[in-house]
Every structure is written in C-alpha cells, then in structure tokens.
C-alpha cells in the first residue's frame, strides 16, 4: 500500500509541475464559471429576439410579453430572421406564420417554431420566450373559459386585459407554469454554471492528466517500478489513486472558488463532496484507460479534452439538461455527467438529501466501478506489453 501512495504522490507532483495544468486547473474553470454564469444570470435587459410577424394579434401579444421581460424585439420576414440569427445579431427567432396567427385568433392551440442562435445568451432568451408564450397560453385559456361561461368574446378579452393590467406580467424567475423555470427556481445562473463546471472540469483535468501515464510508460519508469518490491496491483492502485486525487481536488477547488468568489450556493456541502468523490472515480478510471491504451501524449490530450467536452455537453453541463428535448435527455442519462448533474440539481435547487440523490449516486457508482475496472485491466495489460 505504501508503494501505491508513492506512485500516487509522484503522479500528483508531476501534475503540479506542469505549468499549463496549473492554468487549466486553477484559473480556467473560474473564468468559465463567469462566462456561463453570465449566460444564465439575471435575465433582465438581456437578449434580442426576431419575430417574423408583428401585424397579427399573436405577433403583437408575443412582442408585448417579450418587451415586458426587457427582451429587445425586432421584426423581419422568415429569411431575414434566419440570416440575423446566423450572423449572431439576435439570440432567437420566433416564426409566426398566418396559420398560427389565425389559430390564435380562433382560440385554437398554436404551435410556434423557436430557433436559437449560437450566442452566449440564447439559452436564457429561450427561457424568456417560453415564459412569454406560456403567459399567452394562460390568457387564452382564461378568455376561453369566460367565453364558455357566456361572456361575449370581445368583452372577455377586455376583461382579461383589465385584470392583467393590475397584475404585473410574470417574470421568468417566479413563473410557475413552465417546467424549465420551475427547474431553475431559486438559483442564479452562477449556481447552475458552477455545478456544471465541477463536472466538466473534474473530467477534463483527469483526462488531460492521462498524458503523464503515457509519459511514465514511455520512460520505462513503470517497468522500473515493477523491478522494485512492488506488485503490478500496487502500481495500478497508485495510478488510480493519483488520478482520483487530482480529479477530486479539481472538483472541490471549483466548489470552493465559486462559493468564495461568486457566492454560489452549494446546498449540503457534504453531499456535494460525495457526488464529486464518486464522479472523480469515474474520471480517474477513464483517464487510466486512455493512458493505458494510447501511446502518444498528444493524441491522449486531444482525445481526453474532446471526450470531456462531448460528455459534458451531452450530460447537460453546457446547456442545462432541462432545456433538452426528451430524446437528448435520454442521451444525457447515458453519461456520468448526466447523473452528476441531476444529483447536483437535487442538492442545490431542491435541498435534496442523501435519499433523494441515492438513485443518481448509485448509477454514478456503477459507472465508477465499470470504468475503473476497465482502466485497471487496460493498464495491467499495457504494463505487460511495455515489458
């Protein structure tokens, strides 16, 4: 066991010796939290939406609702709207065709197309649009109810608007009709960004560290280590431990940093650390697997970063899972990030207890066991191969 510690310690030391690791571990995550936090933060005064029609009642009502949410509204025909999006001059476009306008006038269900730009604020604006439309939906239902109970349709509309005037339109952060805004109730953008960054960076840092394993194999240090009274099992355990410590440290660092600098609320810290610990085990196993299979540091770093980003994106660490269509939500549940995200969401936003996150934790532990076993096996094999 002492040998395993020695191996782990030397891996840590080498990790810290690399200046680029220092930047990517200590500085970069906090920078990203700022960027992502800004994306989901506040919501007021931000965003620009193109409507393809403002002459219909539907168009006018959506414009009014968005305006009430401090979203800037432009009008343009469909082709123009797409171009504006492509150029990044707007965050989103709402396509309102004649059929939709007519349906709205007739009090029938309306389907609208919402297209997002790849701007940093587009996710936040998407929430604003959804909330605006939900508001109209509520209104239409209310008017319909009045009409049904015998009120003249024009009167009903006026009556609704009168009532509306006395109640300020709902804002995203307090609206209760829509899943998305409910999911984010009580959190700031920083909170969402921070837990996602924990997951993203734990993986990113661990996988980037797989290069040191390749380096150790290349320099035959692993072979020499085995010429000492050290079993192959100890070497594998030490490698896993070293990588786990790096990953876990990265996670706690992002937690501590965002808490101190941005006042991020982590909820039950012990539970968060438990999630980070289990998630770090997955990351350590994956890093070992990459470091054992590839023989080239550059390829390992590339694959590591790519894999870390893709898994993070699929798992909801870039665009929140709640904004995913259901098919993508399923994909998210195939990634450890997806489960880590759910566990954090439960703890941070809903005051989740160990019981509440037990399911997510169990899946994560399953991931950890499988990936760690795979990594150990591959490393043992590569040790035999290296000799």
């Amino acid at each position: 066991m002492r040998a395993a510690w020695a191996v782990a310690l030397v891996e840590l030391r080498r990790f810290l010796r690399d200046r680029s690791n220092i930047f990517f571990t200590f500085v970069f995550p906090l920078m990203l939290v700022v960027v992502i936090g800004a994306q989901f933060g506040g919501g007021a005064g931000s965003g620009r939406v193109v409507l393809t029609d403002e002459s219909s009642t539907l168009g006018q009502r959506i414009a009014a609702e968005l305006d009430a949410r401090d979203v800037t509204v432009d009008v343009g025909e469909a082709g123009q709207a797409r171009e504006t999006l492509a150029r990044g001059r707007a965050d989103a476009a709402v396509f309102i065709d004649d059929a939709a306008a007519a349906a709205f006038d007739a009090g029938d269900p309306v389907q609208l197309d919402l297209v997002l730009a790849s701007t940093s604020g587009s996710s936040a604006v998407a929430q604003q649009v959804q909330s605006a439309v939900a508001e109209l939906d509520r209104e239409q239902a209310g008017v319909a109810a009045l009409v049904q109970s015998g009120v003249d349709p024009d009167l009903a509309q006026d009556a609704w608007w009168d009532g509306e005037g006395q109640v300020p339109p709902a804002r995203v952060d307090v609206v209760d009709v829509d899943d998305v805004s409910q999911a984010f109730a009580g959190v700031t953008g920083f909170d969402v960004g921070a837990s996602s960054q924990v997951l993203l960076f734990v993986f990113l840092t661990a996988l980037a560290g797989s290069a040191t394993l390749i380096d150790a194999r290349r320099h035959r240090v692993i072979a020499r280590t085995l010429a000492a009274p050290v079993s192959a099992g100890s070497v594998v355990a030490g490698q896993a431990l070293g990588r786990w410590v790096i990953a876990f440290f990265q996670g706690t660092y992002v937690m501590a940093g965002t808490s101190l600098l941005f006042g991020v609320q982590w909820g039950n810290v012990a539970l968060c650390l438990l999630v980070v610990a289990v998630f770090s085990t997955v990351a350590a196993g994956a890093a070992m697997a990459i470091g054992a299979v590839l023989d080239n540091e550059g390829a390992a770093s590339g694959l590591g970063v790519g894999l870390a980003l893709v898994l993070a994106a699929l798992g909801g660490c870039m665009v929140p899972q709640e904004l995913f269509p259901s098919s993508l939500q399923f994909v998210a549940s195939l990634t450890p990030h997806g489960w880590g995200y759910r566990a954090f969401a439960e703890i941070q936003r809903h005051g989740g207890t160990l019981v509440d996150i037990a399911g997510s934790l169990a899946v994560l532990a399953g991931f950890a066991a499988a990936v760690l076993a795979l990594g150990s096996l591959l490393l043992r094999r590569s040790i035999a191969r290296a000799l």
Binding site: R220, T225, A227, A228
Partner: protein, 317 residues
C-alpha cells in the same frame, strides 16, 4: 565461488529461454554470480542481453528455466525478493520533469526507505555518482551522461545484493563513462554482485571478473578474460621498431623461449609470443644485440578477437 556454484551465489540462472513469437531471443542461458563478483555479459545488438536481464530481474517470465536470487525463486509473481535487486535499465527510466532528488526519493520510497534513512541514502548515492550539486535540477536539464549516472544511482539506493547494469555507458562522454566505471568498481569492492552487460569489450575487460560471451541468445563461452583468450589460443604480439640487422635479430628471437613466430613488418619485427610480459625482457635483450630499438609495443589479443573466433562476427556492427 562463482564457478563451482555454491549456495553463496547471489544469483543462479538455470537454462532460461524466452521467445517472442517465432523469434528465440534467449535460447538457454545459465550463469551464477558470487558476492563481490562482477559478471559481464558481452554481446552485440540483439544478442539477448536485455531479455536475459529482464528475466533475472523478474520482469519477464522465462518460457523455461529458473532464476534464483539469494536462494529464493525470482519471477513476475515474486515481489518481495526484488528488494535484493538493483536494476539499472538500458533505457533511462527516470521522470524527466522531476528533480534528480525527487526521482531518487520516489525509487527509494518504492524500496520502503523513508524519512532520515531515505535522505541519507539519497545523499550517499548522489555522492557516489557525482551529482550532489545537481540534485535540485530537473532531470530534463541534465546532460546525457548525468542522466545515465542518475539512472545508476536509482538502482543503488537500497544497497541491493545484486546490481544489474544494462549497457550503462551507452551514449556517454569519456569523463562520465570513467566515473561510471569507477563507481561500479567501488561497489563491487564493497561486496555487491554485479551483472554488467555491454558491447564494449574494454569495459568488460576492465570491470569483469568473469565474462560470458553471448550471441544469438546463447552464452557461447564463459570465463575470466585470460581463460577466454586462452580458449582461442591467440598469441600476444611484441612489435619492435629499430635499425640494424633484421635477419640476425629474427634468428636470435626465434631462439627465445615462448616466441613462436617472427615476422618483419615495416621498419621492424613482430614476434608472436605465448605470454609476452613474462618473456619481454629476454625478447628485448635478444633483439637489442642486433638492432638499435626505437620502440617496443605489446598487443595482447582481446575479446574482440575471441568474439570473432567464436561467432564469426564482429562485436560491433
């Protein structure tokens, strides 16, 4: 001692073989090394030196045959006994991004050294290889020779009973090479058994008490330097340059005991002699009677010639 294989031998290798696919890298090697003895494995590239060493160090499982270190079986599954072994691999097995001392701390920790004892041992081996003043520098800033020396230091930390050095002087400047050879001599003087592989004949001659000549995975011949040379019956050559009556000198020299042949060469003569140092005085006296000698030079047959004789190949390709 070594030759008769008593139980005091530090290492006993019994007929080990190892193939990689179709290639038989080691085709049956046996050897024994006694405490304080330096055994040289001399052979060209691809002879099977590193493969043999990997089996002795327990890094590689032999296909057949056995290895015993200090009377205990050695192999990939025998972890504990490796504390008696110090391996200096042919490839530099060091962390280039760590400092010299940090590397040694790591390898020392693997040998269960710690605290004060570890520090003392690290200081000591740094002194042995002459790197005490560079211990605080990262290894990647070392010269090739310094890396080689640190590579050796890492194998010495735990005072192994058997030190294995696999071509430790490859790519090293003459000064570092001399430093390395001197430290090996010193260690052997302290009673350490040393297994030294090289394809430099001069190193084997200088360091090794016994030498095994290895080629194509087999030890072709084994013995002290003199035994090996005797094996091929090569004679010493005494070359004398000078002016005078070469014919008379030749006749006189042929009467000197030990001299087997005299040939004219350039401005002088060359005698083939069984044991030149013993007969040198008589040879010079006989020659001086007829020649004004300007230069006398003895060349003894070397392992290079032995190797050529045994394998039909040059040692260095």
């Amino acid at each position: 001692m070594g030759q008769d294989g008593t139980s005091t031998d530090v290492v006993q290798v019994q007929d080990v073989t190892r193939s990689f696919g179709d290639l038989q890298a080691v085709a049956g090697v046996s050897l024994r090394i006694a405490p304080g003895e330096t055994y040289g494995l001399l052979g060209p590239n691809g002879a099977g030196k590193t493969t043999t060493i990997s089996m002795i160090a327990g890094l590689l499982e032999p296909d057949s045959g056995t290895v015993q270190l200090c009377g205990e079986p050695m192999g990939p599954r025998h972890t504990k006994i490796r504390s008696r072994l110090g391996l200096v691999p042919q490839d530099l097995a060091l962390y280039p991004d760590l400092k010299g001392r940090e590397n040694l701390n790591y390898f020392g920790a693997l040998q269960n050294l710690r605290g004060k004892e570890l520090r003392a041992r690290v200081d000591e081996v740094l002194e042995v290889v002459g790197l005490a003043d560079r211990a605080k520098d990262p290894v990647k800033e070392y010269s090739g020779g310094m890396k080689r020396r640190l590579n050796i230091a890492a194998g010495l930390l735990h005072r192994p009973a058997l030190l294995i050095l696999d071509e430790p002087t490859v790519g090293v400047d003459p000064q570092s090479r001399n430093a390395i050879l001197e430290s090996v001599e010193a260690l052997s003087g302290e009673g350490m058994a040393v297994l030294y592989t090289t394809h430099y004949m001069e190193e084997a001659e200088r360091l090794c008490d016994r030498i095994g000549i290895i080629d194509s995975g087999r030890v072709q011949a084994e013995g002290t330097r003199d035994e090996l040379i005797h094996l091929v019956g090569e004679l010493d050559q005494v070359r004398m340059d000078g002016t005078g009556d070469l014919t008379a000198a030749t006749d006189a020299l042929q009467q000197v005991p030990g001299v087997q042949r005299v040939d004219p060469v350039g401005g002088g003569l060359v005698c083939a002699v069984a044991d030149a140092p013993v007969h040198l005085a008589a040879i010079v006296t006989a020659a001086s009677a007829h020649l004004e000698l300007s230069d006398v030079e003895i060349t003894r047959p070397d392992l290079e010639q032995v190797f050529l004789h045994l394998t039909g190949k040059e040692l260095r390709d």
